[in-house]
């Protein structure tokens, strides 16, 4: 049964003197417990699709359903409990004047969940950060440390669906491995569903069952994991992406 259904979605921004057609008629479905990947050109609308699900982008056509039900606008309390997003820009999701402790504790307070101290420390440990980071501010962290706080924050409410926008793009190989392993383990243990964006096809291949390749706001080609691994793509753009990535692997 499809958990997330995106049906002919269009998103149009009004940029004052013109309209930006960021997403044009994209459809995809993600089944419960599945992991679905979005890849494609920079500026092709990947982040906009995730933001549209969260009610953060102006939908101009089509529909988004979760569990077969259209989403309410604004998204509300229950949505936050079920769906959490890790933003591409970790700074954007971390309040500059709040300590990491406050950032992680806040969702618990809003949703009246207790046991705050233990949960905050555990969340930091889960993403490989020492509890001593609790009382730092975002600007006192490295780029990768900030990205991990953003992931920890999204996990605080134990959501069922995670929207992950380049969750490991600021992380080195070792921390990326740990973070991907954590995400995979949580998905197996808690039966999570992922919709994730990455420009790294190897990461997408490692994490996702199916992928959608995007370019200029449109869906170009959908592939399952075997097709991706075998390089069995039909469109020129998907092939270009694959070849450019495969070439990086030659000596790796």
């Amino acid at each position: 049964m499809a958990l997330i259904e995106i049906d002919n979605l269009s998103v149009t921004f009004d940029a004052g003197d013109r309209y930006v057609h960021a997403v044009q008629g994209v459809s995809l479905t993600v089944h419960a417990r599945e992991s679905f990947g979005l890849v494609g050109e920079s500026g092709s609308g990947k982040s906009t699709i995730l933001r549209a699900i969260c009610g953060l982008a102006p939908i101009s056509g089509g529909a988004i359903r979760i569990d077969g039900k259209p989403l309410q606008t604004p998204r509300g309390f229950d949505f936050a409990r079920r769906v959490q997003m890790v933003f591409q820009d970790p700074y954007a999701s971390l309040h500059p004047r709040h300590t990491i402790d406050r950032t992680l504790a806040e969702p618990l307070a809003i949703h009246r969940i207790g046991d705050t101290d233990r949960r905050v420390v555990q969340a930091l440990r889960d993403v490989g950060l020492d509890p001593s980071f609790r009382f730092r501010y975002p600007h006192q962290l490295s780029g990768g440390q900030r990205q991990r706080v953003a992931i920890a924050r999204a996990l605080m409410l134990e959501p069922e669906i995670l929207l992950l926008d380049e969750p490991t793009s600021a992380l080195d190989a070792s921390v990326q491995a740990e973070t991907l392993n954590l995400l995979s383990r949580l998905r197996a243990e808690r039966g999570l569903t992922f919709l994730m964006v990455s420009h790294d096809l190897a990461v997408i291949d490692h994490m996702c069952d199916r992928i959608l390749v995007m370019q200029h706001g449109r869906a170009v080609e959908e592939l399952d994991r075997d097709q991706l691994a075998a390089g069995a793509m039909k469109t020129g753009y998907a092939r270009t992406l694959f070849n450019a990535s495969a070439d990086r692997m030659l000596d790796g």
């Binding site: 921004f13 940029a15 004052g16 003197d17 013109r18 930006v20 890849v39 494609g40 050109e41 920079s42 500026g43 982040s47 906009t48 591409q88 820009d89 970790p90 700074y91 954007a92 001593s132 009382f135 730092r136 006192q140 490295s142 780029g143 990768g144 440390q145 991990r148 926008d165 380049e166 793009s169 600021a170 992380l171 080195d172 190989a173 070792s174 921390v175 990326q176 491995a177 991907l180 392993n181 995979s184 420009h199 096809l201 190897a202 990461v203 291949d205 490692h206 200029h216 991706l228 691994a229 075998a230 270009t240 992406l241 450019a244 990535s245 495969a246 990086r248 692997m249 000596d251 790796g252």
Partner: protein, 276 residues
């Protein structure tokens, strides 16, 4: 010829929970070449880069035996002289480009600020230069992007705007902190070839900070591998894949592969002894 020389650099922060030594005794020389800095998250790559521009905010402090750029003692010159170097002769592409851009100023105004102030350009010529700078980094819709605010850009577009902006004054030294981490492979290749051209044709020095070992191995001439604030290995980039240091080897092993088995990725056995 040495463009930048750094000897025994330390960066320390006094925080409520004690002293953080972000960089501990880093030394390197840079010629008109591509020097990669790789290493774990939090290993001090960004702080090393920012130190060269003396962009460490208090209470952080920089100590070094030497930090010389083209004969200029970066440790001694006044803040005013430093400001004259920044952006113009030494530029840095920040790791969080959207955060480093001014959120309430249109991209075009920020991009052309130097051209207007320093070079006195106006009107059609200014516009033409700005469009060309954006087209060079593969921005599809440069007219719109000039009029956009930073929040209206995608992650990778923000990164490319930042690169375009830093390259306009034709710096002698570019410090690029994860400049392509949000770019797909095809756009990334274009951006790298611009940087490559500037090093080869104009003799720019490039410090390329990245966590992407394969990319650095292909793109750079030399690589410093950092771990916990120290340089633990320095090698020719083309030998990166045969790195000797267990930490560097460990990093290479953690990478996922297309068509891999999808089992848990090998982690890194962090031996404290490496960093000393």
């Amino acid at each position: 010829m040495t463009l930048l020389s750094v000897k025994d650099l330390y960066v320390t922060f006094r925080t409520e929970s004690g002293i953080v030594e972000a960089v501990r005794g880093v030394s390197f020389d840079l010629g008109r070449e591509r020097l990669g800095i790789v290493g774990e998250s939090g290993s001090g790559k960004t702080m090393t880069g920012r130190s060269v521009l003396r962009l460490i905010r208090p209470p952080g402090r920089i100590d070094a035996v030497e930090m010389t750029f083209d004969g200029i003692d970066l440790l001694k010159i006044s803040e005013r002289q430093m400001r004259a170097l920044r952006g113009k002769r030494i530029a840095m592409v920040m790791q969080d480009p959207k955060y480093s851009l001014n959120p309430v100023m249109r991209v075009g105004e920020q991009l052309t600020e130097g051209l207007r102030r320093r070079d006195g350009l106006r009107g059609a010529e200014l516009h033409r230069k700005a469009i060309a700078a954006l087209e060079a980094v593969q921005i599809r819709d440069p007219e719109r992007v000039l009029r956009a605010y930073p929040h209206e850009l995608s992650g990778g577009m923000g990164q490319r705007v930042m690169i375009a902006m830093m390259l306009i004054p034709q710096p002698d030294l570019l410090i690029a902190d994860e400049p392509t981490s949000a770019l797909d492979v095809t756009v990334q290749a274009e951006v790298l070839s611009i940087l490559d051209g500037l090093v080869r044709d104009r003799g720019m020095g490039l410090i390329f900070i990245s966590h992407d070992l394969r990319l650095v191995g292909r793109f750079c001439d030399r690589v410093l591998v950092m771990y916990k604030g120290r340089v633990v290995e320095e090698l020719e980039a083309k030998h990166l894949m045969q790195a000797q240091h267990p930490y560097t080897q460990g990093l290479l092993n953690c990478l996922p592969r297309i068509g891999g088995d999808r089992g848990p990725l090998p982690g890194l056995d962090r031996a404290a002894a490496w960093a000393g």
